[in-house]
């Protein structure tokens, strides 16, 4: 079981403090939602956790080893990263694109093994993209491509999944579906960290939430601890309508506080 953690992490980019003294423990089985307004540092935190940017102070640890000391290939076998605006620079087929998720697991000269094949097919089925596996990535709609990108990550069968706004381009049906899949992945023992803007999805699907504002953690905990009216007013400057539907929470942003009549 893989444990990823951030210890007292601070990041400066172009002399601006983007993250300040972040502590975060990501354990197997958790679905952690990173929420907060634009520019709060969510993506930077995710990229630090993926080992993509070097932190200015503190440490990101993968199983108690500093991530910058671990070989990239070794990290890639357990940690998958899904960028916010992913792209396909060449017009390859969906199937080929998804199979790139198996790259960390393949030997230097070997082709796709049966295990690889099975993972790729399972990932395509899960993300509902198998029916257009022979289409080209450059010909897909935004939502279709988002699912193809998720399938690519899925095919790697990661123990830790870091996803930056994976549902923001999806229609409501696929939004719910992807959140269910992320939750199931966590239930199966993976650790999932996901950047979200939709507060209802965050409240309903995540086991833990981290509320960020201006590079600081405002509150960490269960959704009911984090998503209080006060926190949302403080951080987002909004009033929300919230309630329960068959025991599951919903939160709808309703009005801007500074515009209230």
């Amino acid at each position: 079981m893989t444990v990823l953690s951030a210890q007292n992490v601070s990041v400066q980019l172009q002399n601006k403090n983007i993250l300040n003294n972040i502590d975060l423990l990501i354990e197997p089985g958790e679905l952690i939602g990173l929420i907060g307004p634009n520019g709060a540092g969510k993506s930077t935190l995710l990229r630090s956790l993926a080992g993509l940017i070097s932190v200015n102070s503190g440490e990101v640890l993968l199983d108690n080893r500093p991530i910058q000391n671990i070989d990239r290939r070794e990290i890639a076998k357990v940690v998958s990263y899904l960028p916010q605006s992913g792209q396909s620079h060449w017009s390859i087929t969906v199937k080929t694109f998804v199979s790139l998720g198996r790259l960390p697991h393949r030997g230097p000269w070997s082709g796709l093994s049966i295990t690889d094949e099975n993972s790729i097919n399972r990932a395509m089925e899960t993300m509902d993209v198998a029916q257009f596996s022979n289409r080209r990535t450059t010909e897909l709609s935004g939502g279709e491509f988002s699912r193809v990108m998720l399938a690519r990550v899925w095919a790697g069968e990661p123990q830790v999944l870091l996803a930056d706004e994976p549902v923001s381009d999806l229609d409501p049906y696929h939004m719910l579906e992807v959140m269910e899949h992320l939750k199931r992945l966590a239930t199966q023992g993976a650790a999932v960290v996901v950047v979200l803007h939709d507060l209802t999805l965050a409240a309903r699907f995540c086991s833990h939430l981290v509320l960020l504002s201006e590079g600081f953690v405002v509150k960490k905990g269960t959704p009911s601890e984090v998503l209080t009216t006060d926190h949302l007013a403080d951080v987002y400057n909004i009033n929300v309508i919230s309630g329960d539907q068959v025991g599951l929470p919903y939160i709808i942003p309703w009005e801007r506080l500074d515009q209230r009549v």
Partner: protein, 343 residues
Amino acid sequence: MANSLVLQNVNQEFIRTNLVTLILALLTLVAFVASLLIGPAAIGLEHTISSLFSDRADTTALIINEVRLPRALLAVLIGATLGLSGAALQGFLRNPLAEPGLIGVSASAALGAVLTLYTGISALFVLALPFGGILGACIGVITITLLAGRNGSSITLILAGIAVTSFASALTALVLNLAPNPFAVTEIVFWMMGSLSDRSMTHVWLAAPFMILGWILLLGLGRPLDALTLGEETAQTLGFNITRVRHQVVFGTALCVGAATSVAGMIGFVGLVVPHLLRPLVNHRPSHLLVASAFGGAILTLAADIVVRLISTNVELKLGVVTALVGAPFFLMLIMQSRRQIF
């Protein structure tokens, strides 16, 4: 059922890629033989083959072994270099407009080679010329990857290419300007135009080891280039060290293009045209494009060199002139096609 269907698809892609490679390899062989057969002196297939495998020293054997064989071999080596490095640079920079000639690598290599000629170092030891070319090419590729390696935007790449090409050309012009001997200048200018005529087996032996070393580095790039389809950051999270990949691209390209330019001058556009034509045949996969483009480049260069020999003018046309005459309009067409993506 669904599983076996998808498996079939993979096998089909695998078979198709290998079939494309096989056909290109056969065409390379055909073009190579044609290059040995075609020339001002009519020599039949039988005589050609017997000359290749005997120690005879008659005129026929001399023409085949001393004139046509080195020329055909160099066409294969240089063509494969240009096609392969074009495919590798395009994959690394994620840009279909990258090519050793256009982005200034050939011009930098030429500058390096000209400097060894001008300073007389090339007369001191025989490897100085390829070393000069490789060093020049190295500086050219490093500059380009520093200027345009990050985001892969076409505009940055083309502008960086123009900058590197103009600077290298300006320095070459300066060297020529300062040259005391007008005959040397003419010779250098003709050499720079790019040609395979009057080359000997010495040229082949001089350049081949560096080119093959460069090929090995570039052919090893398949996996990382595939991963780079997803962008630089995602490729890193798939386990590739981008700095190491960049070094492999830089030194691989510098070794083979530098050596190629130092024996044959600047031959442009092969590296642009070949990967572009072959990309659809290998399902747009950067890794599969590498070997295919190496063969494609060899075929195109052999064919262009045969055309040069067949067109009868008083002075033989330079190969580099012909590839530029065909390649430049092709480049223009590519820009028109991809204008939407560029701007």
